[in-house]
């Protein structure tokens, strides 16, 4: 089973890097707004039922992958 995990800044947490990207696109004449930068982590998990896989990924996020002060996450399981 393949896991695709997306980690992003929580709403209200300023992301200066995303702001710089947004500004640079505006400077190049692209009228965009609300740019956001996300991290995507993909990995393969052994065979297991969906519920167990979800629990395992949530545990990984709590233990190390996500900083709950600044970030939130969502993921999908790809069979």
């Amino acid at each position: 089973m393949r896991v695709r995990l997306v980690i992003e800044k929580k709403k209200g947490v300023f992301d200066p890097e995303a702001k710089v990207i947004e500004t640079s696109l505006l400077n190049l004449g692209h009228p965009i707004e609300n740019a956001g930068l996300k991290k995507v982590i993909e990995f393969t998990l052994g065979d297991m039922d969906e519920e167990t896989a979800k629990e395992k990924v949530a545990m990984m996020c709590t233990q190390i992958l996500v900083n709950p002060v600044l970030e939130q996450y969502h993921f999908e399981l790809i069979k």
């Binding site: 947490v13 200066p16 190390i64 992958l65 900083n67 002060v69």
Partner: protein
Amino acid sequence: MKNAKIVVFPGSNCDTDCERALLQVGFKTERVWHRDSTIEKCDLIVIPGGFSFGDYLRAGAIAKASPIMSEVARHAERGTSVLGICNGFQILLEVGLLPGAMTRNASLQFICGEQWIRHDSNSSLALKKKVLKVPIAHGEGNFRIDDDGLRRLQDHDQIVFRYCNQEGVVSSATNPNGSVDNIAGVCSKNRRVLGMMPHPERACDPKLGSNDGADILRSFLNNRV
């Protein structure tokens, strides 16, 4: 003689400076490797600056998986003083020994230079001066915490240092990295763990511009955060 342990991770680069400064103020020192699982009885544990694990994932995050960190937490719980400097501060935040989190400097630039900080805690560190000159060098020193967390830090006198000017005035103009409330260093509620972005080990010789860092390190000889 008081005994200090210096925790070294792959990518730590201030361990030698820390060792030299701690020896200078009167500590006996020993370095411990991040894969060690025990730390012998000591008076102070220092987590030095640098770029542990290349700052991969988030600055300080990967250190969470090192066996030594549960030992650091155990010591802190039992009353040993713990000092995290720069990347060491980021590590203490990531492992949850201190509240809050660190993000990229508001300017997006790595900043490096002399900095004035004000000692703002009535119950932490026995320092001779209120305003100290201690250098900073970081790319991710923008301290964040939610409003409730900030209020708790203020209510419990946990904000040990704030960025200021030479006169000790704290304002947005004296904030080098965008940290909330100009925070440069905080301690734990039990006052055993101190994290600070400025580098006291680089301010231990007047010839290098300041001796104020030695005063900070010396205060740990009295086993007091």
